[in-house]
């Protein structure tokens, strides 16, 4: 599990450098996200461009990472592959998160 992070404007961009977020790394992902986002910007954009596959454990870990941010910060998701996008839409999690097709689209939208 590897995360990298940059801050641009008013958002922190956290990039997931992994092809999968699944049961084997879900707990680690949640912990790494806690460390990475601690004390960061109010808006976190999770860049999933590298991620090709997510299962229900990975989905739960992303929800957990969002909840860790607390009520004053928000998490948006960017760069969803077709399979990742499908899991979010089937579970209706697309009603909880703002989804952006690409990181550029996410950064171009400043939703405070």
């Amino acid at each position: 599990m590897s995360l990298t992070s940059t801050t641009t404007g008013s958002a922190q961009i956290v990039t997931v450098n992994a092809e999968r977020i699944d049961a084997t790394i879900a707990i680690q992902f949640k912990e790494d996200m806690r460390n990475e986002t601690e004390g960061g910007a109010d808006r976190v954009i999770l860049d999933l461009s590298e991620v090709e596959f997510i299962d229900s454990s990975g989905l739960g870990a992303i929800v957990a990472a969002m909840k860790q941010l607390g009520s004053s910060r928000k998490m948006d998701l960017a760069g969803l592959s077709p399979m990742v996008d499908k899991v979010f839409r089937l579970t209706r999690m697309d009603t909880v998160f703002d989804l952006y097709a690409s990181l550029n689209e996410a950064t171009a939208t400043s939703n405070s």
Partner: protein, 147 residues
């Protein structure tokens, strides 16, 4: 024409990951359309994760046996294991999670069976001679409606 193949592996998380990848790759080479192959991968991953995490919970992992039957119209995937039965020996309802709650109360799990039910057009479960036998049916045509 019916194409059949079987694939077995020991029920660990890492074996499950590579095993599912191998099964889905083989289905692609047998002509399963890409969009459907992706849905099969999602459903199969949930079903096999359940075996790894629940059926063989608290014991040494046993085998997961997967058998695929693909014809022009439909794909059946049978998943057998010798682990613990499903609760009450029956399929979980797989209801959608309740998202109409404050963010702090959003569910972090309980998506698995719902995903399996959404992505399959038929599903059977039988507990027989100490084995779990789960069968998932998918339409082959990617344009066929889900569920």
């Amino acid at each position: 024409m019916v194409n059949t193949f079987a694939y077995s592996f020991l029920a660990t998380e890492l074996n499950a990951r590579s095993g599912i990848g191998s099964v889905v790759e083989r289905l692609r080479t047998m002509g399963l359309p890409e969009a459907r192959a992706e849905e099969v991968q999602i459903a199969l991953a949930e079903a096999v994760n359940n075996v790894v995490e629940h059926a063989y919970a608290g014991t040494d992992p046993g085998d997961v046996n997967i058998r695929c039957n693909l014809d022009a119209d439909q794909l059946w995937i049978n998943i057998h294991d010798a682990g613990l039965p499903l609760p009450d020996d029956k399929l979980p309802e797989g209801k959608p999670v309740d998202l109409n709650v404050p963010h702090a109360d959003l569910p972090e799990g309980g998506f698995g069976w719902f995903l399996i039910r959404e992505l399959t057009s038929d599903i059977h479960y039988e507990r027989k001679s100490g084995n779990n036998q789960l069968s998932l049916r998918f339409e082959v045509s990617a344009s066929a409606p889900l569920g």
